[in-house]
């Protein structure tokens, strides 16, 4: 599933906003039991066990990181071996320049392993999570990076229970705000006035508990 398509698709969401991570987690579990498909949750900090509750698998980035590390290690060896043994062996301090000095290549191999792992993994993470400089962020609540936790359900998706039931369930689970039809917006690329226009019609429709 692509995380960042919601803005592009102009999707409508049913959102429940929570101010307590335990309530959010409980709400996710309850909705999952009822067979509701949850689009995603948005939290200001990592909520433990939320990814399991949502049914997400552990990321495979570690495999990519391992491969990058292997590549780095190999690059380090190739670099040192080619330069000092194959291309232009230099006898310095009477030390041989052949495979027998392999041990002195280890520090460079080690450092390049770390370098390739770190950069490879972080670049893969950015690509996979679609973190790109200048991309529009899709927010469903302006406070989702501050103190509110958002549970989002795609309105276009077929659900086991009716939309009204979902709204009622979210309210029952302790959501401080429930909105049956909300579009994503962004703060950094919108002026304050436009942002107020986007935010206000939504807030009039919302039901406060």
């Amino acid at each position: 599933m692509i995380d960042k398509s919601i803005l592009l698709d102009n999707k409508k969401f049913t959102v429940g906003i929570f101010d307590n991570s335990d309530k959010l987690l409980h709400a996710v579990k309850t909705l999952k039991e009822k067979g509701v498909k949850i689009f995603d949750c948005y939290t200001p900090f990592p909520v433990h066990h939320l990814d399991q509750a949502l049914g997400y698998h552990r990321t495979n980035l570690t495999v990519g990181a391992f491969l990058c590390g292997m590549l780095g290690c190999l690059s380090g060896f190739t670099l040192a071996f080619y330069m000092n043994v194959v291309d232009w062996p230099m006898i310095i301090g009477g030390k041989p320049q052949d495979i027998s000095v392999f041990t002195s290549f280890i520090p460079v191999m080690f450092e390049l392993t770390i370098l390739f792992t770190a950069f490879g993994m972080v670049i893969m993470f950015f690509a996979r999570t679609r973190l790109i400089h200048g991309i529009k962020e899709d927010l469903l609540s302006r406070r989702q990076t501050d103190d509110h936790m958002v549970l989002a359900i795609d309105n276009n998706e077929e659900q086991a229970i009716s939309n009204e039931d979902i709204v009622a369930l979210l309210t029952k689970e302790g959501a401080i705000e429930v909105n049956a039809s909300k579009e994503a917006f962004n703060t950094s690329l919108t002026s304050e006035e436009d942002l107020a226009k986007i935010l206000n019609p939504a807030s009039t429709k919302s039901k406060k508990k």
Partner: protein, 448 residues
């Protein structure tokens, strides 16, 4: 959730999620305080001193320093090792303590990592300018060239150092930036001015805190911590090999790698404490950086200080036991020679002074910790000075014995790097969240 009742809470003052955001964003969103301007101005003046003395070094040549053919490494390499060592505490806090699940690290890891990066900047200046022709500073890199394929020498620890330090700097930057992304997004969503919206929006890279992103983020942070741990140990190990692989009495010892790593963590924690005690006071972060944090850090100082002290004594005993008169002379000369004052300053600051942290009062009294942290910084600078200068100034050939005193240019460059360091740190404190908000929000209800 399990909470240990005997432990103090990690964040005091009954903070809510919103309080954390407010407190941490306040310096970013408001105009700088007079104390910020004062500190920043002093730092910039020192930074200009750095620019001036470096320009003079380049213009006039390396002869503006007092290094000579006996003492070919003087203040420059002393300062290099000093600054690299300072950096190590940042990675220790963010990586090693993450692996050990020490949650108290969360309030201090951001500023400690920033310190790492700025310290490595400062460190890199010294070898670069010590090479003399700084515009040829790319020569240690393994680049194709027109000198008959004259490649770099992979048998040399100095080359390992090039790889180690540059890897360390870049990996630390990545680790730091990764941790900053969610917090930059928080600032972005609170921003009211156009410039702030644009820049924080740009650097937040569209972060919206989705559960999927957090899941991957936490795995990436864990792996980065996992690889940063051996990295940080390797960096100072390799720095120590710059000395240990030579045949100079006083340098040629196998104890150097662990001894240098312990020393690096020791000096780094000294600097972290110096900085955090000021930041905590000026920015009113007593609820986040509590006396519990100070106590934990002083315990690390006590441990690593004792390891360093043990290493000093071991080194001495091994020299005495070796039956190798040059080694024996090098150590006798350290203790009773013309640089004895530096040796005993080092012994007092690193071995004796931190032992006060056996007392609970000393571990929990901020002004007292501040004094000791300064003493630790001084002591660790002297350690490197003692290792480098006393080993070099009297070598195998008495006709080349010299005394070495720094010139004003060398002193100016060293003071100037403090200017660079603090200029960066003040800018960091103004423009970026000094405390990792996202992580602190996960522990505000915790005791551990």
């Amino acid at each position: 959730m399990y909470t240990a009742d005997i432990r103090q809470p990690l964040v005091t003052g009954g903070k809510t999620y919103s309080d954390v955001t407010q407190d941490v964003c306040r310096p970013i969103e408001n105009k700088p305080t007079p104390s910020w301007w004062l500190g920043f101005s002093i730092a910039v003046v020192l930074f200009l001193l750095l620019a001036g003395t470096l320009a003079w070094t380049v213009w006039e040549g390396i002869g503006t320093w007092n290094v000579n053919k006996s003492v070919m490494w003087g203040w420059d390499i002393t300062n290099f090792v000093f600054w690299v060592g300072i950096g190590h505490a940042g990675t220790l806090i963010s990586a090693i303590l993450l692996l050990f699940r020490q949650k108290w690290r969360m309030a201090i890891n951001r500023s400690a990592e920033a310190m790492t990066i700025f310290a490595v900047f400062c460190a890199a200046i010294f070898p670069l300018f010590h090479m003399g022709r700084v515009w040829l500073g790319y020569w240690p890199l393994p680049l194709p060239n027109a000198f008959g394929s004259l490649w770099v020498n992979f048998n040399s620890p100095l080359l390992w150092d090039v790889f180690a330090i540059s890897t360390y700097l870049s990996v630390s930057l990545v680790f730091w930036y990764l941790g900053l992304i969610p917090d930059i997004a928080t600032v972005r969503d609170r921003a009211t001015s156009k410039a702030r919206k644009f820049w924080y929006g740009f650097f937040a890279m569209g972060w919206n805190g989705s559960a999927k992103s957090w899941g991957r983020y936490e795995v990436v942070a864990l792996i980065l911590a996992g690889i940063s741990t051996p990295l940080v140990l390797s960096v100072h190990t390799i720095v120590s090999m710059d000395f240990a692989t030579s045949v100079i009495p006083g340098w040629h010892t196998t104890i150097f790698p662990p001894y240098f790593v312990a020393g690096a963590i020791f000096s780094g924690f000294g600097m972290v404490l110096t900085l955090l005690l000021i930041a905590r006071h000026v920015m009113n972060y007593q609820d986040y950086i509590t006396t519990e944090h100070l106590e934990a850090m002083t315990k690390v100082i006590l441990l690593t200080g004792s390891i360093v002290g043990l290493a000093y004594i071991t080194e001495f005993v091994i020299a005495a036991y070796s039956g190798y008169e040059y080694e024996q002379y090098a150590f006798a000369n350290r203790m009773f020679g013309p640089y004895a004052w530096a040796y005993w300053t080092m012994m007092f600051c690193n071995l004796m002074a931190p032992q006060v942290f056996w007392s609970k009062w000393a571990r929990t009294t901020p002004w007292f910790i501040f004094i000791i942290s300064i003493i630790v910084n001084i002591g660790m600078w002297f350690e490197r000075f003692v290792i480098i200068v006393t080993s070099l100034h009297r070598d195998f050939l008495p006709s080349s014995w010299v005394m070495y005193h720094a010139t004003w240019v060398e002193v100016g460059i060293f003071l100037g790097t403090f200017g660079l360091f603090f200029t960066c740190f003040f800018l960091f404190a103004k423009f970026l969240p000094v405390i990792n908000m996202a992580e602190v929000k996960t522990i505000i209800k915790d005791k551990e």
